[in-house]
């Protein structure tokens, strides 16, 4: 579904990603793990077009992503749930969801999709007319995921969904990730919480200082001594 070959990217003179190659197949949940500053968020931003790649090839179901305008990427079926949620704090929950359905193909099914995400997250229905910024962190993450699902995506990019949340809420967020997997979405998730994310993913890549250094099934990586020492504190 998603295919990256030798992608380079950076900010000005600073190169953050070096020759990244990776695939995500339909129906999979793939995790990218790594330390803070390894380039995980940059990778997500490159895929969704927020940051242009400087070299390499990148396709979504055969369509050249590097030649696609940033606001057209979501029309290819890629929905990005950005780091720290990035809801519109002074818009209601429902207005946030409406913006998730901004693309023409989603507008046509707005009320249908709204019923669908409210069914998935009944809490959001209770809070529909509340400003998104007044909700708790866990509820905001729920809303950010729901907003992404409004466009009826094929691939959902989740950038550090557990960041900044209390441990109890982190458990709930990974439960949300399991649920959207169960709904049949393909998921690419970036996390620092390695032990948790390897429980929900099928496969994983390890990113270190901008380079992919290891990949394999989630079980393999979870069993690797190096990863257990460096990222899981065991």
């Amino acid at each position: 579904m998603l295919d990256l070959k030798n992608i380079d990217a950076g900010y000005g003179a600073f190169q953050a990603l070096f020759g990244i190659s990776m695939q995500v197949n339909a129906g999979e949940a793939v995790a990218v793990i790594g330390a803070n500053g390894a380039g995980k968020t940059t990778l997500m931003r490159v895929i969704s077009g927020m940051l242009p790649a400087s070299a390499g090839a990148m396709t979504m179901e055969g369509t050249d992503l590097r030649a696609t305008a940033p606001h057209k990427v979501v029309e290819l079926g890629i929905a990005h749930v950005p780091e720290s949620r990035r809801l519109f704090p002074r818009l209601s929950v429902e207005d946030n969801l409406r913006l998730g359905a901004f693309i023409p193909s989603a507008r046509a099914h707005f009320s249908e999709r709204l019923d669908y995400v409210y069914g998935l997250f009944p809490r959001l229905k209770e809070r529909r007319s509340q400003f998104a910024g007044t909700m708790s962190g866990g509820e905001q993450q729920m809303c950010a995921i729901a907003r992404a699902l409004m466009s009826k995506p094929k691939l959902v990019l989740l950038d550090e969904p557990s960041m900044g949340l209390a441990p109890v809420i982190v458990q709930q967020v990974f439960e949300l990730v399991r649920r959207i997997r169960a709904e049949g979405y393909t998921v690419l998730i970036v996390e620092q919480n390695v032990s948790q994310v390897l429980k929900v993913a099928d496969r994983a890549y390890l990113l270190e200082v901008g380079r992919m250094v290891q990949s394999g099934s989630a079980a393999e990586l979870a069993a690797s001594d190096e990863i257990r020492k460096a990222y899981m504190g065991i």
Partner: protein
Amino acid sequence: MMFGFFSSLDCSLDIFFVEALINGVLLAGLLALLALGLNLIFGVIDVVWICYAELVMIGMYAIFYFVQVLGLPLPLAFLLAIGLVACSGALLHYLVIRPVLDQPPINQLLVTGGVLFLLQAAATMAFGIEFRNLGIRLGSVNFGDMSFAWSRIITFAVALGAMIVLWQFLTRTYIGTAIRAISQDRQIMPLMGVDQKKVYLATSAIGGGLAGLAACLMVLQYDIYPQIGLQFGPLTFMICVLGGLGNMVGGFVAAFIIAQFITIGGSCVATEWGYAVAFLFFMLVIFVRPQGLFGAKS
């Protein structure tokens, strides 16, 4: 405090006071409409169109030209003028604002200031410095000893109606929702599939359209001359800042406050004093609340 000030000027609570009060409310409709356009542009694009009142002036001259020179019927002239000023707004964004979008605010202010003088000069060249009007006489309505011009009543009603329509647009449509969202987080708009450039252009056209509508209402009451922008531009800008720049509801309330200072001050002393008192009030407010009456603390 306000009433105390004016009563010391021998302005007791009589029928003239009530008349001035109601005229203030009627004037507030027009001022609120003007402030709304400027606030919309600032709220979305984060740029102040210092030449906003000059767009209104262009609209007024366009109506004058359509009616007096081309002999078009007034309603058609109004529609054409709204369309023309809406296009001017979009053009202003495309040609003048877009190249300086990432530059410091002072540069943006100065380029729109340049447009202000350009439009004034162009109007003077084309129409001269004479005061023009369409000779429209709508008469007035009397309540006892009080008299209110129909032109003011119509202006108030249409301005209020336009604001309600705009509010519906901003809250009920996708593009309207995007317009309200964009200042809260510009960077993630593409993730929603929103093309920021299109939102800016649409907002500029709507802001221009509002200036065009204001022009239609103003030709009913005011003479047209190249410097009319100086009469309304600073006032509009001050109302926006008083209400909290970019805050559309704040601008609406501020328009009603300022209009009262102008009409009550004007009826008690002289019109010029009304403006001065309004600006004095403004200065006192921003000493205490730099962000305006309804602005969020930055």
